[in-house]
Each structure stands twice: as structure tokens, then as C-alpha cells.
Amino acid sequence: MLQRFFRKYDKTDIAMWLIGAALAVIVVYGAVQTLSAGKYSGAVWRDFIVFGLAQGSVYALIALGYTLVYGILFMINFAHGEVFTGGVFTAYFVAIALSESGFSDEHWILSLLILLTVAVVVSMAIAVLLERIAYRPLRNAPRLVPLITAIGASFFLQYTYRSLYGSGVKTYPDITQLTGTWNFFGTKILKTQGVVIVSSVILMVGLYIYVQRTKAGKAMRAVAEDKEAAALMGIDVDRVIVNTFALGGALAGAAGILYAMLFKQVNAFMGFIPGIKAFTAAVLGGIGNVPGAMLGGLFLGIVESLGPSLVLDGLGIRSPYQLKDAIAFLMLVLVLIFRPTGILGERLSEKKA
């Protein structure tokens, strides 16, 4: 009986289950401890969740870039976080100019749209150049080669930003019209968070429609399904790939502006951690799966926002917020180990993953 069991599941599988079970016990224990201590009120938890949704929607937008590219090329565009940085960091200088001239105080919506355009265009350009220079020549290389290239590109871009724009942290100017809170069915939410959530929902719906309904979106899905067949059907594969990078870049640029609204501060290395988190989100939702990336982003945002207070606090860990990034990384590791096909299930077969 026992022998049969061991034949069916090998030792590593069993070890993994044990690790997973132990982690689950710790998480539940921590959560129960915190909740029974009653340290935080209901309103605090609600704020955590709203904040989680806001940062999660930024992750989701970045995650879409990973998912779109992975869906087509089966490569992790490790430099995508830097595509995100490029747009928002460049737009910072425009934001300062607009703010100093007083323009943004009078027409805040218009000035936000200008910033959005700048960030989107810059990020898009970086993404397309990246594809053209670094990735296209390696399309048929062994899989580690483009990954190493992407890692190199990531660091190259980080330090390029640092050398071009300086190493200091820069702070986006406030938008006076967006300070304060809105009353939303009896709960107060920060205006910036509200704007971020609403705009990212609009963008995501737009993207979904683009991918599902338009001709370009259909071509994209066809190439993701089977490159050779798509080429035989007369689809220009190179063009579709460029489109995909451009689309991912554009979303990353938009995510950058939303990120700047939430956190205000930008610097040359800001994209790295959100990039990895967005990748986690993409994997969570099943990489290559567009709605999955959106859900994954929101989920990760909430976990990250709740996790430190809910679980770590209960475990008696000091300054739990310092470990917020560790939670995201832990999620990443756990998802890749236990469910590499994502929560929403695979869009990719095992051999591709």
C-alpha cells in the first residue's frame, strides 16, 4: 500500500507538499492571531484593501506587458520593469514644467493626459527598440540566451536612466484637485486611489476589447497560437511581435503615470521591484492569459497590502512592513513552484512552460 503510494508520487513531490502545508499553517495561525487581538478596526482593513486594489491595478497593467510578450515569444521580458521606468521618469520632467508654469493647476485633466501621452510614447519606444535591437536577432536561440540578454538590457537601462537623469529620488508635483477623499457609498477613498483604479479598469477593458475584437488583436492571438501557421495565413509575424511589444510598452507607460499618482516618487531603479511583482501577477493569472494577468495583479496588490498586518503582525514579527516585498517574492516563488500554470489554469502546455 505504502509502496504503491511512493511509486505514484516521488519524494520531491512529498517534500513540496510538506513545505506547502507548513506555510499554510503559519499563514492561518498568523491571521488568526492578528484578528483575535483586534488591533486594527474594520475601516483600517477597508483602507488596506482599497490601497491594495490601487497598487494591484498598477501591477496588473505592467503584468499585461509580460503576459502579451510571453504569450507570443515564450520569453520573459526581464527588462519590462525598465520600460515602465523609462516612461514615468521621462514624464517627470514634463510634469515639473507643467507644474511650474501653473498649467497643471488650471487644467489638471489635460495635463494628466499630456503626461500620460509622454510616458506612453517613451515606454513604447523603449519597448520597440528593445525588441528590435536585443531580442529579434535571438528569436531562434536557446532559451537562456534571450533571458540573459533581457537581464543585461534591464541593468543597462537602469543605469542609463541613472546616468542621464541623475541618481536622486525625484518627487512628482501634487495635483491639488486630487488631494482629499471621495465619499463612495459611505466609505471614504482617497481621490488618487479612485482615479488609479478607474483608469486602469478602463485601460484593461480597452485592451481586452482590442485583443478580442480588432483585426490586429486577432492577428496577435493567431501568432500566439502558432507562429508558422499564422505566417502561412499571411500574417506578418514580425509586425505582430512589434505591435505586441508596443502595446505592452504603452500599458507600462500608463501604469507609470498611475504609479506616480499613488507613490509620487520616481528614480532610476523604481521599475525593478514592480516589474518582478507584475511578473508574479502574470504567472499567478496563468502567463499568456490576459484576464488572468489583470486578476493576478489585483490579487497580488491586496495580498501585499494586507499580508504584513494580517499575517506577519500576528506572528510577532517586528516592523512587518519592511517585509512587504518579501511577501511578494514569496508569492512568486510559491506560485512558480506549486502552480506554474497559474490560478486561472494554463493557457500553455507543460512543454512550453
Partner: protein, 565 residues
């Protein structure tokens, strides 16, 4: 294929724009100004000017080369066009930069930059003329290299690079040998206050060129003779060179003194790590981006067990703590290895990166601060001693690190050509087939992770004992990327490649302060460029193995060796 590589005017303009943008980039990231302090030839050429000239020379060469199928002069015309376009672009930058304040956005667009780029001209008109004509001249100069026979071309490139290299090393040489008697006249002959003297540079140029040409000649002449060497001769020569090399290595700190020894120990610490990561990535093909974690574990184990400061625990000696540090790192390698056993390629890379970051964040946090010091790190780690001899400064630590390198290289070398090494390489090539050939993937992978982690642990322990204090920020992702870069540049899977890569990538920036700022920028560019142009690295593994095999064959099966092609 494409239309017979016809290089049109349009291509030349494109190339010119690319060249111009490269120079703009180099200028705006601040390299030109930063490197301008360093004179290569006294009063004449600075390193900053050289980084402006190089793209023109190189791309001028390439465009002339691509246009070669037409007549020779056509290629040079293309180069000229390229240089003019690039020069015009730089002139435009100078014009804009001197009229508008670009500095609010580009911090390096300072007046100094435009001064350098003006090459001493005052009026905008003469600046533009100088840049355009100069650009054209340099690109044509690059282009004329296509007309030279290849042996002469190589000799010239080697000679010119030697001049630049020796010019760069001036400072180091005078720090190292400044106190020696023989150095003074040599120094006065070759160097001025800043940079090489003209006579010095010409002598170096001529010597390097002649040396290269003579090597070329002797190689073509003796290529038939080589087979005559007997196996005994080969062995004798090899043993002799080992002995000489060993003695030289032992004497290095005595010769060079403190500062170069310091650099060598840093390089050495990276070599040890590189040897370990080379096993994981190069042999077994498992891209581990969290490798720094094991380095950290080694360093922290050493720190915690030996420190006599605030966080003192058992206050062991270095030698007692060393095996524990290595063992703990090894154990961590196995433990972190288990979850990723079934993972392939890019997912493995990301998960290991995640592990590395988790460890760093946890170490940095307040959570474990009472045990491991948080952001304040661990201080007062005693130096290693052996029978009253203290490994105090870099000149002493050097021996410790050298010992580590020898140990680790020996292990890596033995493993590479053994059953285990072959299993790793087979796994790297095709995991499924390797398994079908009877290779136990679990054990083989874990052995790779464990060996690599143990090396990193050793490296970390030495690092802690060398510095005397450790801080979490020494253990971030950049270290993993550095190590990865150095094995890729050296040649993935190649042992001499690790050493060469460490010297180039770790040694150079340590030597040149102005390089240090652009270190990661260059690593990033280098990783991309290597993957695009030379993914096998500069000292690739495969040919190396083949050379080795051929020698073996000569020794074992002398009669049949002649048959080998």
C-alpha cells in the same frame, strides 16, 4: 538571401546617425567628461576623447567593409559620409547644449561636456566645421583599415590598444612601483606628469606591432613542426610552467604591494564565486540569479560565529567557522534546490532571484536584527590567523584567497572531466535525454547546486574575514549579476574564462575609479552584446576541451595521434 549586401547612400546615412547617437549617448551619460581627466598621451589625447573617436573608427570600418564589394574608394566615401553625418549630429548637440539649458533634464549636459566636444574651438561655426571634418576624417581612417592586409590590421589594432592600456595603467604603475629604483628612469622615459610621452607611446606602438607581426610569422612558419614535440617534452614544459607560475603567484604581493593586492583579493573572491556559478550555470545549465544568497550565508555565518563585537556569540576562530560556513551554504544550496528541481530555464531563474531577494530583505529587516544586525550589519569580525601569522592586510589575505581559488579550481577541474561533469553537461544539453541515459536528475542537480553554493559560501567567509565587517547591502542582486556577467564574458562553462572574466569585469573598474560609475551600465551592455555577437564567450569551453583531449591523445596513443585531423 538579401540583395548582395549593397551598401547604399541611405545605409551610410543610417550608420552615421547610429554612430552619432552612440556618441550622444556616451556624452550625455557623462562618460566623456568623466574620462576626460585621464590623459593617454600627455597634453594630446584623453580617454574621454578616445571614447568619442572609437565609435567613428569602428563604424567607419564596418561601413567601408560592407561596401567593399564595390570599388575600394567607394567604401571610403561611405565612411566619409557616415563620419560627416555623425559629426553634424554632435555639432547639433553642442549648438543646442550651449544655447538651451539641458541640464534640468540631463544632468551631464554641463558646460564641461560642450567644452570637451568643441575641441578647443570658440565660435560655433568653427566647432561645427571641426566636428564634421573631424568625424569624416576619423571614419575614413577607420575605413582605410579595410584596405590593409589582415596581419597588419591586427598588429595595428593590438599596438594602438596597448598604448591606450598602458596609458590607462599609468597611475597604477606609479603607485605600485613608485618606490623602486629602476622605476624612475623608466617612468621618465615613458610617462609625463599625466599620460604617456610621445616618445614613450611611439616606442610602445612599435614594440607591440613588431611583437604581433613576429608572432604571426612564427606561427605560419612553425605550424607544420608542432607534431614533433614528444609527450615527455610536453609534460616537462607543463610541469615547469606550473612551478614557475606557482612561484610567481606566491611572490605577487611582495612585488606589487598593498593596493594591487587589495584589487587582486577582490578579483579572487569573485573568481571563487565565478567557479561556483560556472558549475551551476555553465556545466549544469541552471540559471541561478539568487546566487548571492549563498555568498551572504557564508559571510554571515563567518560573521556571527567569529565576531567579538556587540552581536558576539561563540567567538570561534576563523578556521573553526570556515567549514561551518561552507557547510551551511552547501545545505542552503540543497534546500533551495529542492523546490526548483522540476523547473526549467527562465522560471528557475526567476525563482532563484526571488530566493535571493527574500534572504536580502529578511536580513535587512528589523525582524532578525537582534541576531544579525539588520542594516547596521555585523562589525568586529576578527582576521584569520595561523600560528601567530595574521592575515591582516590585503597582502596577507591574498594568500588566503589564492588558496581558496586553487582549491576551488582544482575541484571544478576534476569534476568537469569526470562522470559527474559529463552528467551535468548532458543535463544542460537535454534534460529528458539525460534522464533516459540513466542520469538521476535529482541527485545531479542537487550536487550542482550544493557545489556551487559551497564555493560561494567559502567566498563569502573569506569576504567577511577580509573586510572585518559585513552589511546587507553588500549582498544584493548586483553581485549575482556581476558573477553571471563574468562567466558569460569569459565563456560559459570555461574555467580559464572565469579567471579572465573576473580580471576584466571586476579588476578594471576597481583600478579605474571613473569606470566604477559606469560599471553596471557596461555590464548590461556587455551581456546584451555578448549574447548577440559571441554567446560562447571569449575563452569558450568546447574548443578548450578539444585542445585538452588532443594533448591527452598524444600522450596516451601516440601512434594514432598523427591520424587525427
Amino acid at each position: 538571401m538579401k540583395e548582395e549586401s549593397t551598401f547604399t547612400l541611405r545605409n551610410a546615412v543610417q550608420f552615421g546617425l547610429i554612430t552619432g547617437f552612440i556618441i550622444l549617448y556616451i556624452s550625455l551619460v557623462g562618460m566623456v567628461v568623466a574620462f576626460n581627466e585621464r590623459y593617454i598621451i600627455a597634453e594630446t589625447i584623453t580617454l574621454g576623447q578616445i571614447v568619442v573617436f572609437l565609435p567613428l573608427l569602428i563604424l567607419g570600418y564596418f561601413s567601408a567593409n560592407r561596401a567593399k564589394d564595390k570599388q575600394g574608394i567607394w567604401g571610403l566615401l561611405m565612411s566619409l559620409l557616415l563620419g560627416v553625418v555623425a559629426g553634424a549630429l554632435i555639432a547639433a548637440l553642442v549648438y543646442v547644449g550651449t544655447h538651451i539649458n539641458l541640464r534640468t533634464v540631463f544632468i551631464n549636459a554641463a558646460p564641461e561636456l560642450f567644452e570637451v566636444l568643441s575641441f578647443g574651438r570658440q565660435s560655433m561655426g568653427s566647432v561645427a566645421l571641426t566636428l564634421i571634418l573631424g568625424g569624416g576624417f576619423l571614419a575614413v581612417l577607420g575605413g582605410t583599415f579595410t584596405l590593409l592586409p589582415s596581419w597588419l590590421r591586427r598588429a595595428l589594432v593590438v599596438a594602438l590598444s596597448s598604448v591606450v592600456l598602458i596609458g590607462i595603467l599609468q597611475e597604477l604603475l606609479s603607485i605600485t612601483f613608485g618606490s623602486r629604483d629602476w622605476f624612475k628612469p623608466v617612468n621618465e622615459f615613458f610617462f609625463e606628469q599625466k599620460g604617456l610621452s610621445w616618445t614613450g607611446s611611439i616606442v610602445i606602438l612599435v614594440i607591440a606591432a613588431l611583437w604581433n607581426i613576429s608572432r604571426h610569422l612564427s606561427r605560419t612558419r612553425s605550424s607544420g613542426k608542432k607534431k614533433n614535440a614528444t609527450s615527455r617534452n610536453i609534460r616537462a614544459v607543463r610541469i615547469a610552467s606550473w612551478v614557475v607560475g606557482g612561484v610567481l603567484l606566491m611572490l605577487v604581493p611582495r612585488f606589487l604591494g598593498s593596493y594591487p593586492s587589495e584589487i587582486l583579493t577582490i578579483v579572487g573572491i569573485y573568481i571563487i564565486m565565478g567557479m561556483g556559478l560556472n558549475i551551476v550555470v555553465g556545466f549544469a545549465g541552471l540559471l541561478d540569479l539568487g546566487y548571492v544568497a549563498f555568498f551572504a550565508i557564508g559571510a554571515y555565518t563567518m560573521g556571527i560565529l567569529t565576531t567579538v563585537g556587540k552581536l558576539a556569540t561563540v567567538e570561534w576562530s576563523f578556521w573553526l567557522a570556515l567549514p561551518v560556513a561552507v557547510l551551511l551554504a552547501l545545505l542552503a544550496g540543497v534546500i533551495l534546490g529542492i523546490p526548483v528541481l522540476k523547473m526549467r530555464g527562465d522560471y528557475l531563474a526567476i525563482v532563484t532571484l526571488g530566493f535571493g531577494e527574500i534572504i536580502r530583505i529578511v536580513v535587512l529587516s528589523d525582524w532578525l536584527k537582534p541576531k544579525i544586525g539588520g542594516a547596521q550589519g555585523i562589525l568586529q569580525i576578527p582576521k584569520a590567523t595561523i600560528g601567530g601569522y595574521e592575515f591582516k592586510g590585503p597582502e596577507q589575505v591574498y594568500y588566503l584567497v589564492l588558496f581558496g581559488i586553487i582549491l576551488v579550481s582544482f575541484v571544478a577541474w576534476r569534476l568537469r572531466d569526470a562522470r559527474l561533469g559529463r552528467a551535468w553537461k548532458a543535463m544542460r544539453e537535454d534534460e529528458d535525454v539525460a534522464e533516459a541515459m540513466g542520469i538521476n536528475l535529482v541527485n545531479t542537480k542537487l550536487l550542482a547546486f550544493a557545489t556551487g553554493a559551497a564555493f560561494a559560501g567559502l567566498s563569502g567567509a573569506l569576504f567577511a574575514a577580509k573586510l572585518g565587517s559585513i552589511f546587507p547591502h553588500s549582498f544584493n542582486l548586483i553581485v549575482s549579476i556581476n558573477v553571471l556577467s563574468l562567466i558569460i564574458v569569459g565563456g560559459i562553462g570555461s574555467l580559464p574564462g572565469v579567471v579572465a572574466g573576473a580580471f576584466i569585469l571586476v579588476g578594471m573598474p576597481e583600478l579605474l575609479r571613473e569606470f566604477a560609475d559606469y560599471r553596471m551600465l557596461m555590464y548590461g551592455a556587455l551581456l546584451v552584446a555578448m549574447m548577440l555577437v559571441k554567446p560562447e564567450g571569449f575563452l569558450p569551453e568546447a574548443t578548450h576541451v578539444r585542445e585538452l583531449r588532443e594533448e591527452e591523445e598524444e600522450i596516451i596513443l601516440e601512434p594514432t595521434a598523427a591520424e587525427a585531423p
